[in-house]
Symmetry: C3
């Protein structure tokens, strides 16, 4: 990663874009944040991956997402979808549906309820629906596998156990810390980290998504260990980026806890 320094084009939300840019720099990648339709193709032309994030949506940005996604497909570079808030409003659900229709994604990275909502969109009949609630890890695993089959994308479903699957193989990743949910944007950060790994993985998107999930979860664990008395979620936010900045292959291999 630090050798290739892949450029990741992020069409982001304004709440977490600073954290996303900083975690990309910390891991050795290079962010370009742009949501202007008229420069979508130009920016994609020198990027190594594209990450589309549905947070704080608007029509202009949505148009940019479609243009950038199609251009990335044409160039054969990976596109990652973070369906922030899918299922929480008809508007966002509609946006997610349209994106799934017109862009091929390499990885879809969301939390369990977002993955469930996308699965509903993708055409489940008589099966899972939003009313079924969050379900347990086994449920999420089945839904993630089916969504992966339907979309031909790797699905990365974040939770206490992260599930990363291409529909056939499944990684269950046990890294992470509950305090991560007290910091906004740790999910968005995982998505751009996934995009950075996807850019340098030689099309092994399953490994890329699993590695990113393990690294982010491990960063959450190690950052928590660094906290001193009185330090809370404000400092923790910076510490997560600190750990990613200092991460090495050895630390990651030693700390990653997963099963296939």
């Amino acid at each position: 990663m630090r050798e290739h320094r892949p450029i990741v084009h992020c069409i982001s939300n304004y709440v977490t874009s600073n954290d996303c840019a900083n975690i990309l720099l910390a891991c050795g990648a290079s962010p370009i944040m742009s949501d202007e339709p008229d420069e979508a193709e130009d920016v994609v032309s020198f990027a190594s991956a594209v990450c589309l994030n549905l947070g704080t949506p608007n029509e202009r940005k949505f148009e940019t997402m479609k243009r950038a996604g199609r251009a990335a497909n044409a160039r054969g570079i990976p596109v990652i979808l973070d369906p922030v808030g899918a299922g929480s409003s008809r508007h966002r659900t509609g946006m997610a549906r349209e994106l799934l229709d017109c862009v091929r994604f390499s990885v879809i990275r969301g939390n369990a309820s977002e993955i469930r909502a996308l699965y509903g969109i993708a055409g489940a009949t008589g099966g899972v629906d939003a009313a079924a609630g969050e379900g347990d890890a086994a449920d999420v695993k089945e839904i993630a596998k089916k969504l992966a089959e339907k979309t031909h994308a790797v699905v990365s479903a974040s939770g206490v156990t992260d599930i990363v699957t291409d529909g056939a193989r499944v990684y269950m990743i046990h890294n992470g810390h509950p305090m991560m949910s007290a910091v906004t944007g740790t999910g968005c950060q995982l998505s751009v980290l996934t995009a950075a790994f996807a850019a340098v993985c030689g099309n092994d998107f399953l490994s890329a998504a699993a590695t990113a999930a393990a690294e982010m979860g491990l960063a959450g664990e190690l950052a928590h260990e660094m906290l001193r008395k009185g330090e809370g979620s404000g400092t923790y936010r910076a510490r997560i980026i600190d750990v990613i900045y200092g991460m090495t292959g050895e630390v990651l291999e030693k700390g990653a806890r997963y099963e296939i």
Copy 2:
């Protein structure tokens, strides 16, 4: 708060939205940041409070504010107004006027000059005007009371002494630290914190606004005590969120300094 985990719909500005989301998470609430008109009603439908912030305004967001404010009024959930920069441009003053006309607010939270500007808008004749300057705490108290009477909202005017009033009763809150003004967004953070307390206060908005003001001010004091040699406003920003994250009812009760 941490038990109810209220969802606060923030129509925010892009400068401080990350801090606002993080302070909501730190206090035990759950933020939704969205300024898309087409999902305003959907988002309000599962929120427990709405906070409208006039910073970095634009027409699209203003439309969302009106739709979300009306939907929240219809559902009977509290709406908080942070009139950032009211009085500093005719455009923002006009936006504030229109919002006061079409939305009923539970709490209006701003600094003294913004509260003064809103009072001018709300129709003072022959009385206070912008040219009168900042005035002292006694002046601000009178203006806040009158604005509360006119708008039927609790008014929370921040300053060296925070004044929180429903027009009849007045809290004078002495918590806070001068260094808070060296960090952008501490006012915006107080507003979303006020929205979170308003969501769980059983319609006692006066207590909610006063509690939020005392907690934010106390966080500013305790965060300052935590600073080590060489640490400045960059670290202080994170420490304020750290303190809110660790805040307990006992610490707040012991540290709050106010008179009614």
Copy 3:
């Protein structure tokens, strides 16, 4: 600076706007972030400098930039241009060209490739072009001088050595730390800091830009010295602002390393 407390109107990007606001507060200035066209002239009317940043561009913001730039020219207050990403897309290059046509800038502050792109725009023939690559400090110096001559602006080109020139005199500033490139927005922060110094320099924009570059670079050095074991780019980001907050004239004079 801390005495005059100049108000800097920033038309910013949403990725780094929080850091820009905080560094302005840290140095003793007062930020106003607004990109709404309809309040451009009102905000300029009480500002002491304007900083236009091309990051995360859109048409609305571009319109605001032109209106604010012209209003600032009419009032005789300094305008600073940060041509973020100039040369990376035809869209941004076109925006930069149009701004150079309709606004007189006091300082243009960018990295070497952005300055090179602007020089190409400004009408070099048969000379430097984007294909020529980054070049060395001597190249950048020549290009910066020529751009300064063409635009009648001071040009501040950031790199390992910062070059600040009005076309005749040249400051070579050796402050800075490589780790600054691992934090998003240190360039944007330098631009608003330059605007703050420009506001209080009595029209000596060359000294203002050079002082800002030295202060920012020195902050990067001192912030790096403060890092403890395990701390990385997340903490470093806050430390840079800490150092600016605590900066004194004596520290700056002692630490600045430059030649004219």
